[in-house]
């Protein structure tokens, strides 16, 4: 549905996006991750046709963005990072303009406005000037605008930034619902969001793709180590010293009140750890195996890619 091939974009001297390629199939919800300034917005702008790439090609729904931009743009609903609201228009007038801009006739426009107002729960705000809306509702109007022409592809740039936690939950539900029959690419730098909404993630850093996989695979692939988290009653320094002597142990960290022990994935060190503690007479309050979180994966990947450069 979306194909990006060898996309590069330079602003003057600065290389914002450096030769990236990926494909998004119909019906997928893909998260686009990366630290600020990684090139997420630039890539999304190239996909929506707001910017022309310096090099490379973009296809949306089999239309080439360079050769057939109008047709390609017809398939896209786009919520930019700055919500594009005409602050002197009411929500309804704004949605009407957005619909007509996408070429809907007046009869369909009326029907679609009612539908998106319903989906985005804007019923009470139809006659309010968009400039008077709170941030969360602006975001919803922005989303309503993006889906008004019922596009196959949705590009959402940071859809949950700056809105309160309750609205974040609602927005996520909305995006999930929209993703049932659409292809969605959404960017964010907040990780828990991605694991909740997306099936697949593309992580970019400094204009390059550093990882691209399903969330499950990504954590599996990177989890060559396992972590044990322990709470122990005992003098910290001695505990660390003694634990370090365990043969299979790769690394030990103390983050009060937890000791984090890293082992190779294949090892089963629990019994040995228990034994050591018993010998020393320290009490074990808790021991659990923890998965490497998406945050850690993300930090690890972006750090690795920076070291390579």
């Amino acid at each position: 549905m979306i194909t990006v091939e060898h996309l590069s974009k330079t602003y003057g001297e600065r290389l914002a996006v450096d030769d990236i390629s990926f494909k998004i199939e119909q019906g997928e919800i893909v998260g686009f991750l990366g630290p600020n300034g990684a090139g997420k917005t630039t890539t999304m702008r190239a996909i929506t046709g707001y910017l022309m790439p310096t090099e490379g090609e973009v296809w949306v729904a089999d239309c080439n963005m360079r050769k057939d931009p109008l047709k390609a743009r017809q398939h896209i609903g786009y919520l930019p990072e700055t919500i594009p609201l005409y602050t002197d228009m009411t929500t309804r007038a704004y949605l009407k303009f957005a619909a007509r801009l996408r070429g809907l006739d007046s009869k369909i426009t009326q029907r679609r406005i009612d539908e998106v107002v319903d989906v985005c729960q804007l019923q009470e705000y139809c006659d309010v000037l968009t400039g008077k809306l709170s941030k969360g509702f602006r975001q919803r109007v922005g989303l309503a605008q993006a889906i008004i022409h019922d596009p196959d592809v949705l590009i959402l740039d940071e859809p949950t930034v700056g809105i309160d936690p309750l609205q974040v939950v609602q927005t996520k539900e909305m995006i999930k619902e929209l993703g049932r029959k659409r292809t969605i690419l959404l960017s964010t730098h907040i990780l828990p969001e991605v694991s909740l909404i997306c099936e697949r993630v593309i992580i970019i850093n400094q204009g390059k793709i550093v990882a691209e996989d399903s969330i499950d695979n990504l954590s599996k692939f990177l989890n060559t180590r396992k972590q044990l988290r322990l709470r122990i009653n005992g003098p910290a320094e001695q505990v660390i010293e003694r634990l370090s002597k365990i043969e299979a142990l790769l690394e030990v960290n103390y983050q009060e009140p937890y000791y984090l022990l890293e082992f190779e994935k294949s090892k089963q060190p629990q019994a040995e750890v228990n034994q050591v503690l018993a010998q020393e007479g320290w009490t074990l309050f808790a021991m659990e195996e923890i998965e490497m979180s998406l945050e850690e994966i993300f930090v690890k990947l972006t750090r690795d890619s920076e070291e390579e450069l």
Partner: protein, 238 residues
């Protein structure tokens, strides 16, 4: 065509819902009215023409075109709505033309409001209607060129003030080019004069519609609209 009308309609809506167009029109009518009457009084009401209005009117049109057009593209950039327009299935020239026609319509509205000057002359005197009609044609053409220049300036920057200043600079620069031209020996002087906005207006005031003048104003309009479209297009590549 439908999309040009859509964008034009949206802009007209914005003009009508914000104070700018009303203030500009009010000041335009007040100042040109004052100048219309003073001229009549100076000639002891012997010259029943709208020359007084025209003298100030032409300069006011330059100034107010810069003010009316300054927000057209600049503001969209600032609000971020530019991204909505440029990612919608709309061509760049449709955006530019839509905005051009909207401000031209406001300008025409302002000119219509001044029609009571010649109307007063018709009721209380015996004016020569030919020059009045051609003068209005001249004002319209001058307005269309000025608005095109204003839109071009607006396409260059997200800052409305900068846009107005740039538009004013180009407009008054082109206006006073005629004076510079008259000081410089031919043929350079004549060439400079030909490019001046002011050199092509007196014909219309005298009641003469010269094709060269028509072509000049229409070309300036077309050139600056074209430059605006190009300025938007190149932005995608920057």
């Amino acid at each position: 065509m439908r999309r040009i009308a859509l964008i034009c309609g949206k802009e007209i809506g914005t003009y009508l819902s914000s104070p700018m167009a009303y203030i500009v029109s009010a000041i335009f009518i007040a100042l040109s009215g004052a100048s219309f009457t003073t001229y009549l009084a100076q000639t002891s009401y012997s010259d029943t023409s709208i020359r007084g209005f025209l003298e100030t009117g032409q300069l006011l049109i330059l100034l107010f075109s810069a003010l009316l057009t300054m927000r057209l593209i600049s503001e969209e950039r600032k609000l971020g709505t530019w991204e909505l327009l440029l990612t919608a299935p709309v061509r760049e020239y449709e955006i530019v033309l839509g905005k051009f026609f909207s401000s031209l319509l406001v300008l025409v509205g302002m000119l219509i409001l001044t029609l009571y000057f010649p109307l007063l002359l018709l009721i209380f005197g015996d004016p020569d209607t030919g020059p009045i009609l051609t003068s209005y044609l001249g004002l319209f053409l001058l307005g269309s060129a000025s608005v095109a220049i204003g839109i071009f300036a607006s396409s260059l920057t997200p800052n409305q003030i900068v846009s107005a200043v740039v538009a004013g600079g180009i407009l008054f620069g082109l206006w006073f080019l005629g004076m510079v031209g008259s000081l410089i020996p031919e043929p350079l002087g004549e060439i400079l004069s030909y490019f001046s906005l002011s050199e092509h207006f007196p014909g219309f005031v005298r009641g003469v519609v010269d094709t060269r003048d028509l072509v000049y104003y229409l070309s300036v309009t077309a050139v600056f609209l074209f430059l605006s479209v190009r300025s938007i297009e190149t932005e995608r590549w920057r």
